[in-house]
């Protein structure tokens, strides 16, 4: 594993001289290190690049790390990772991707993650994305996340794109069974001329299933962001999506939430707000002794926390 990967790992995960638990480190399309645990088995996928991660039923409190790093120009990494989470398991999955580009060609990571989460299982899925390196070569990260939640299963997806990613298209699809819960918290910051597109599609199939989708974004400079979400209520269910965006400089944001209620007892809500930092917020923090710049920075970092 090279030094760049090590640095990226520290940013996108809690890597410190190694991981505690099962892990697989992907570097420039290759496996740099791997370790399974008794309850979490990581194996290479047979038919495509990527991994099959199997978590035994009843596994409690364990973490598995699946970071991917691209450290040079000209790499176009495509990976398919499948996660099978057994009945009643309660685990944390830390993914995350860092793309470092110091050359002139494009560097891209495209991770397709599929989650099959069985009855009563509870998963916290954390994903941090960052681009680093100063060069003309573009940094792209295009994650696809497919989630299947069984009866009374729960997935909390906590996803952050920190900075430096020139283009990203993030696709997340979920299908929920009876009593299943999907919670997604997304935070994206773009600056310069970066572009970020995010697309959610959630089918609430099971009775009493529920999704809560929270997206917060900051578009600075000349950057552009797009938010689409579709929540389909196909049973007695609850769906909530909330998209808040702060514009700084000439940043632009387009948000188009869609709610499809196909069942009489589907209760779906959407909230969206886009705008500059409220003047009152800046004033309040200034009365506490902050300068306008400090106030702006605090408001943004709190918003994206």
């Amino acid at each position: 594993m090279n030094e760049t990967t090590r640095q990226l790992l520290e940013i996108i995960s809690d890597y410190k001289d190694g991981f505690k638990g099962a892990y697989n480190i992907r570097e420039d399309g290759q496996c740099a290190a791997r370790e399974s645990s008794e309850n979490i088995k990581i194996e290479s996928k047979q038919d495509a690049p990527g991994l099959v991660i199997k978590i035994k039923p009843g596994t409690k409190g364990e973490k598995v790390y699946i970071p991917a790093c691209v450290t040079k120009s000209g790499i176009d990494d495509l990976v398919y990772n499948d996660f099978y989470v057994g009945e009643g398991a309660d685990v944390t999955i830390v993914a995350g991707c860092g793309v470092h580009n110091s050359g002139d060609e494009e560097a891209r990571h495209n991770g397709i993650h599929r989650f099959f989460i069985e009855k009563n299982a509870n998963v916290l899925y954390q994903e941090k994305h960052i681009g680093t390196g100063e060069s003309k070569g573009l940094r792209k990260i295009d994650p696809v996340t497919d989630i299947e939640l069984g009866e009374n299963a729960k997935l909390t997806m906590d996803t952050v794109q920190l900075s430096g990613v020139d283009f990203t298209t993030r696709t997340t699809r979920g299908t929920l069974g009876k009593d299943a819960r999907l919670i997604i918290k997304e935070r994206i910051m773009t600056d310069g001329v970066e572009q970020a597109k995010t697309d959610f599609y959630v089918e609430l199939k099971g009775e009493n299933s529920g999704v809560d989708l929270m997206s917060r974004s900051v578009a600075r400079d000349e950057s552009y962001q797009e938010y689409h979400s579709t929540i389909k209520g196909m049973n007695a269910c609850t769906g909530h999506s909330e998209c808040d965006a702060i514009l700084v400089g000439n940043g632009r944001v387009s948000a188009s939430p869609q709610l499809d209620a196909e069942h009489n007892d589907a209760a779906l809500i959407h909230e969206a707000a886009i705008g500059k930092i409220a003047g009152e917020q800046l004033l309040k923090l200034r009365t506490l002794g902050l300068t306008e710049e400090e106030a702006e920075q605090k408001i943004i970092s709190g918003f994206l926390k």
């Binding site: 917060r216 808040d244 409220a278 009152e280 917020q281 004033l283 309040k284 923090l285 200034r286 009365t287 506490l288 002794g289 902050l290 300068t291 306008e292 605090k298 408001i299 709190g302 918003f303 994206l304 926390k305």
Partner: protein
């Protein structure tokens, strides 16, 4: 000491809100500013905090002319202002806001003490976002706590009673009493509440953009309570 000299401020349509206000607020006193709605009290408070720039007149704080200082500079000089309508923040927690106010990290017991003073249980609020999920009364207390956390020479509270139920308000009166006894600072409280006026050292009555009356509380209070000045609904300058 805070000294205002001939402060004038008009609305865009030319209507006068502060019409030549001159006032001295002595150190280490609790000064209540009262008077009819629309009389200019909030505008006066905002002028002191720097949120409003007067069209003419001077403001002195501890002998220094602060008329041209901005909000941040005045805050750093030791002026605090609790908004009448507190601002909400998506993402900032009660802890974040109190720490920004104090200008440093706060220990658990310090936050507990601050929230306790305004009648909030720390366990329910410390990590809570200061967002729309808080009720009007809750956010008002947090607003007051941010000013208490700053512990400055001059603390201005703009209608602290607004949005707080009367039962809890009694507790808040005790807070102001306690602050008055313990800290070396001036409290300027804009209020209509008799209970605040009763604990004040001095009372200033602002009406029609002017200081109508001011002096020791024991002199001014009886004139207010006896109803000697009941504003008529359409009374305007």
């Amino acid at each position: 000491m805070l000294k205002l000299e001939n402060i004038v401020w008009n609305l865009e349509d030319g209507r006068g809100i502060l019409n030549d206000v001159s006032l001295e607020i002595p150190d280490n006193k609790l000064v209540a500013i009262t008077g009819p709605n629309g009389g200019g009290k909030t505008t006066l408070a905002k002028t002191v905090a720097g949120l409003i720039t007067p069209e003419s007149g001077k403001i002195f704080f501890d002998g220094e002319d602060i008329t041209d200082l901005d909000i941040t500079q005045r805050a750093k000089k030791g002026i605090s202002y609790a908004f009448q309508q507190p601002v909400r923040f998506k993402g900032l927690t009660v802890r974040d806001l109190l720490e920004l106010a104090a200008g440093r990290e706060l220990k658990q017991h310090e936050i507990c003490e601050l929230l306790g003073k305004v009648g909030l249980c720390k366990n329910d609020y410390i990590e809570r976002e200061v967002n729309a999920s808080l009720s009007g009364g809750e956010i008002k207390r947090i607003e007051i706590a941010t000013v208490l956390a700053r512990n400055t020479k001059l603390s201005i509270f703009d209608e602290p009673e607004a949005g707080i139920d009367l039962w809890s308000f009694a507790g808040l009166v005790d807070v102001f009493k306690e602050v008055k006894e313990k800290i070396n600072g001036t409290l300027m409280i804009i209020s209509h509440q008799e209970r605040i006026l009763e604990i004040a050292d001095e009372i200033v009555v602002i009406s029609k953009g002017k200081v109508e009356n001011s002096g020791p509380a024991q002199e001014i209070l009886p004139t207010l309570i006896n109803g000697s000045r009941m504003p008529r609904p359409c009374e305007r300058s």
